[in-house]
Each structure stands twice: as C-alpha cells, then as structure tokens.
Point group: C2
DNA sequence: TCACTCTGATTAAACGATTAATCAGAGTGA
DNA sequence: TCACTCTGATTAATCGTTTAATCAGAGTGA
C-alpha cells in the first residue's frame, strides 16, 4: 500500500552531504543564507542525484499548486488546438502546468467545470467564454480571453480591427456589395468582427449580414445558405466571420458552378488548419495566439504572485488588444462587375 | 506571504464536532471504524461547511496526485478537440484531472513533455503518439491510443475495418478505380486505413495510393494534387485517409469543374467538424472517441489502482479495437462510367 | 572584557490528509 | 472474577517542502 515516491528528496541530499534539509532547500531556492561554496556543492549533488522537487510537498506548504486551469466551454471550436497549444506553451515557460476543463458546450456546466478546477487547487485560470458569461464566483485569479469589447476581458485579438482589414482588402479589390456570414448572433467576437467590417467599408459600399444560427432554426441544421441567390442579387464578396463558415460558403458556391475568385470572393477569419490547403486557398485574418496567450498567462502569473490572499479577481493586462494580420490567399480577387449568372443553379 | 487555503479542513470539522481528525477522515472516506450515527453527523457537518479535501495534502500522504497526463505530440491534428474532450470527460468521471502536454510536433520534445508530466506527479498518462514512438521511459503507467497494429497499443479505433467499410461502400456504388490519398507514409494509422481499403476491394477493382508528404517534398507545400489528371486516367473514387485530405481533394476537384458526386466520389476519415457542413457533405468514417477514451482511461485507472509500486508500464485493455462507423453523406454516389472530361482543366 | 552585529548554519513548526498502532470500555464465556 | 474479544474512538507518525526563529561563533568597537 505504501507508494514511496521514487527519487531522492531534500532529506536524502541533506544527510548525504551532512547538512540540514533547510540548508539544502535554501541552497536550491537561492533564499536564506548559505555560503557560496556550499550552495555549489549542494546544487551539484542534487543534480547528479537527479533530484526533482515534490510538487505535492511544495503545494501543501506554500498553498500554490503550480497549475493553471484552462476553461474552454466551446471545445468544439476548431480554434481549440491553437489556443490550447499557445496557453500550454506560455504556461510551461512560466513553470506552470495546464489542467484542461470543458463543459461539453453546456452553459450551466461551465460553473461546474470551474469549481472542479478550483477544487483541484489551480492557482489561477484562463477562460475563453462561450458567450458573455460572467466569471465572478471563482476563488482564484481569472484571465479572460474573448474580445476587447467584453467587460472584464483581459486580453484578446482586436477582432474589430481584423474586420477592418478585411473590409479594406475587399474595398481595394473593387467590391461594393458584401455579404457578412456569421453563425452566432450572440457572440461578442462575431459581432465585433462584423462591426469592424462595416466600419471599414468606404462610401458607396453596402453590406448585409446572414446569421446561420437563425437560418438553421427555421430550415433545419446543415441547410444550404442560398448563396447563389445572393450572387444573383449582386453580392460579389462573402466575408465569413470564421473560416468554418467561409468553407461552407466556398463549397456551396463552387458546387453551384460559381468560380472563386473569378466570379466572387470569399474571406474568412482565424486561419484554421484547412485554410491554406483548400482550393482556392482561403484569404483570412489571423490572430497572434502565441502573443495573446503570452500576455494572458504572464498577467495571470503576475497577479498570482502579488496577490497575497487567494481571491477571485479578474486579471488585467497592459496590452489588452492584439492586432490581427491579414493573410491574402487565392479566394479573394478583383470584383467581377458581371458574374456569369448563366451557370448558376441552386442545388 | 502566508496564503492559507480557504475553506475548512479536517481539523476544523473535528474540533467543531469535538472529535478527532482521524475519525473525521475515516467517516468521510468510509474506512476505519466509526459508528453509523457519527458518520452521518460528520458528513452532514462537512457538507454544510462546504468541505473540499486538499489535493495537495492527500497527494503528499498517498503519493497519488489524482491527475492524468495527456500527451498529444501532433497537436495540429484537428482530431485533437474530440480526443481531449473525450479523455477529459472519461477522466473526470473517474475522479481524475487532466494535464495536457504537447511538444509542438517536435519528436525529441515528446520525451521532454513526458518527463515534465512525471515531474508534476501524474499518476498515469494517455499518449497519442505521432509515429510509432516507443514510450518506455516514463515512470508511470502509460496507455497508448494509436492503432491496433502498433505494438504496445492499449486501445484504438479499428482503422483497418474502417477502411474496409469505405471500400465496401464504394464497391457497392460501382466504383472500380480508387485513388487512396494519404499525407504521411510513416503513420501507422494511415497505413492501416489504406490497408483496410485495399483488402475490402472486390475482384476487378484497382487502387493506387498518393502520398501527399512525398508530393510536397518534390513540389513544395500546398501544391495541387493533380487530381483532374487522375480523373482522366479513369479514377472515379477518391478515398482520403483523413477528412483534411478529403477536403483538399474535394475543393481541388470542384475548382476544376468536376462535380461531386455526379462525376466522381470523395470519402474521408474521422468525421471532423467541417464534414457535415461542406457542400457536398462528406461521406466519412467516424471513430467512437468516447468509447475509446473510456476504455483507455478505465484501463489506466485500474492499473494505477492495482500497481503498488510506481512503475513505468504499458497498460493493456480487454477490448483493444473499437469498430468505426460509416457515415454516408452526399460526397459519394454511383460511379459514373464516363465522367464529362470536357470541362476538366488543370489549374 | 563586554556588548553588539553579522554570517552561516540548524531547529522546529507548520501545511492537510491518511493510517497503523493504541486504548478505553463494554460485553462475553468460563 | 479474570481473560478475552469486539467496537468505536484517539494518538501519533508520516509524506516533502518551506520558513520563521534560533543559535554558535567570529569579528568589531568601546
């Protein structure tokens, strides 16, 4: 039943060198008062013994676990791999581990997931909220990554500016009628992106917004978006608020015999995994996840280090919006004043 | 500097009820000898005080952290969300937390990531290896999810059978010439899938395999696959070994004016997020990740519970292959004996 | 010489849980 | 009455680390 931890502990190093555990601890941590040469001897011996400090022992004493929680209520979002990777990388660099928690999309279960993380003793957590969920009850510092317009947001991509980039790109190509395609009207992120597109349009340009969630509520899931009809109405550019919707638009248009980018242009957001490999490759806007994660994690870690009492508080960072970068590929091109409507058949 | 853990501990409950901590511990864990009514009183009082056991204290004493590691060397794989979700869900149900670790695709960094997890004191870990990486050095039980043909595999989808399903489906639709499209010739998973397809073909059928990694090595990344040429050569079905490749094939064919499924059929693997929403929606084969994760985690947890000494061992499960399920959608249809090659132009 | 400071180390007390060992008392059988 | 068992509880040790408090000894100034 006894499961002794393998490897040496402070006590073994201490007796082996004929000093006290406190001295070994001080030597390794650089605190307290230990003579220079003894520090060296201890460090050397610890290294050759392959000493690894016990997280459990340390956590028990200090009250800090060295672990951050990552809450992803919308784990189905294909952005997840990038987010998780970036957060984990940043946390790892700061000496923290990352405990993941998702709630299968369920909104109520989000609180449950957060509580579980707190029970596990995370020192803080990074939350990417599904909607504008209020994170307040957590008993630890919380960094929120959503969009700058969300109250309580710590840091996020500047989705508005990203939309602005898209609009500028399309305007420069001569597009005048733009269809914005989103899939969740409640989403702060998507609304900011759409707002950015609209604000970036030049005089004489016109836009309309198609919300897929509403469309599917009426017509059932995975229904056609009716984009060929929109082409007939004179739209020459389709600006999706996520690459997934861009892909949906792209394939629906292609299937209807509409050629991209000759006939119409399609753009997306996020530069997801498939964007470079589909034909035509997708013009999109990328967020610098590494930088965002770095800022969020370092702000979180700072708060953890300075806050003496374990309290639930929203972390703030100096830089709170990170610019998005336009990636021009092959799905966007000069506006065609008269797309060949002959070939268009609604499937 | 002192950061007292919030909330009550065993000692507070004990003094508050006038009993000893040992009794409280016994009452809550159900071990030892405590009278029925005292157990009830203690449980009640603990509940109303909102007692949450300290993982650190428990971990220090028992040598068990209650945390599993999840190693995903190929985090760019879009399967990741499903895997992570399934593993986390299964682990959570078994009372474990999940610590993630990835190595940015770097093979050497995989060992590093594993070591970090061990240092953090995980009780065991689930590894999805990139290639046939030998996992042996870890100082804890390891469950491997790859493919049944990998030596040391714990549990996995029956990729071979999945390929068999695809081949049967295409054969039933009258296809005779199938192009298999993979992107990594080293991958055990992809080779099993391809092998399954070949073994499921009926007499008179012919297949060829296109490895994208080799093609890109010659022609540069994101190069066209040259599929229209293959159509001209008489291939009527394109069986990709992953939905990402299927998507690449689908869009390349559509762009060349080839209609799916009228002219040719395209199938994939994994039922990734975009498969139902592209046009035409993708016929694919899905693995039961929840079941696989459930089996892996419960086998892992069993091993952890029974192995008295902390040792590195490969976990085995009773069921080691889980059937894949064919999802027929709109990208596959009856073979067209003479696809209209007139419209085909190589981009 | 005495009081004082400074350095370099040690002692010992936590942190919170688990658990083997112990113990008081009641009941039982001879 | 004595020895024994059984029950229901307590005592105390332990896991590994951190850190405040203490201490011995050397150096210093008066």
């Amino acid at each position: 039943m006894a499961t002794p931890r393998p490897g040496p502990n402070l006590s073994r190093i201490a007796t082996s060198l004929g000093v006290s555990v406190a001295t070994v601890s001080n030597a390794l941590s650089g605190k307290g008062r230990v003579s220079g040469q003894l520090v060296e001897r201890i460090r050397e011996h610890a290294a050759e013994l392959g000493y690894v400090p016990s997280q459990a022992g340390r956590a028990l004493r200090t009250g800090r676990s060295g672990v951050l929680g990552l809450v992803l209520p919308d784990i189905a979002n294909p952005l997840f791999p990038k987010i998780a990777q970036a957060i984990q990388f940043a946390a790892s660099a700061a000496g923290y581990g990352v405990l993941i928690a998702d709630s299968r999309g369920d909104v109520a279960a989000q609180t449950e997931a957060i509580n579980r993380l707190v029970e596990r003793g995370v020192d803080g957590m990074v939350v990417i909220p599904r909607r504008a969920t209020r994170i307040s009850s957590a008993a630890c510092p919380v960094a929120v990554i959503d969009t700058p317009s969300t109250p309580g947001n710590t840091v996020a991509a500047d989705h508005w500016q990203g939309g602005h980039e898209i609009a500028g790109h399309l305007a420069g190509l001569g597009h005048r009628r733009i269809l914005i395609i989103g899939n969740n009207q409640e989403s702060n992120v998507q609304n900011d992106r759409a707002g950015g597109i609209r604000s970036g349009m030049r005089p004489g340009m016109h836009s309309e917004t198609l919300w897929i969630d509403r469309l599917e509520q009426e017509n059932g899931g995975d229904c056609p978006l009716g984009l060929p009809e929109k082409v007939r109405q004179g739209f020459t550019a389709f600006a999706a608020l996520s690459d997934l919707q861009a892909l949906r638009a792209l394939t629906e248009l292609q299937q209807a015999g509409i050629t991209i980018p000759t006939d119409v242009s399609v753009t997306g957001f996020d530069d997801l995994i498939w964007s470079p490999v589909v034909t035509p490759s997708l013009t999109t806007v990328r967020m610098d996840m590494d930088r965002i994660a770095g800022i969020a994690v370092s702000a979180l870690v700072d708060t953890i280090r300075t806050s003496s009492i374990r309290e639930g508080m929203l972390v703030t960072a100096e830089i709170e919006r990170v610019a998005m970068q336009l990636i021009v590929r092959q799905s966007s091109g000069p506006a065609n004043p008269a797309p060949r409507t002959s070939e268009m058949e609604n499937m």
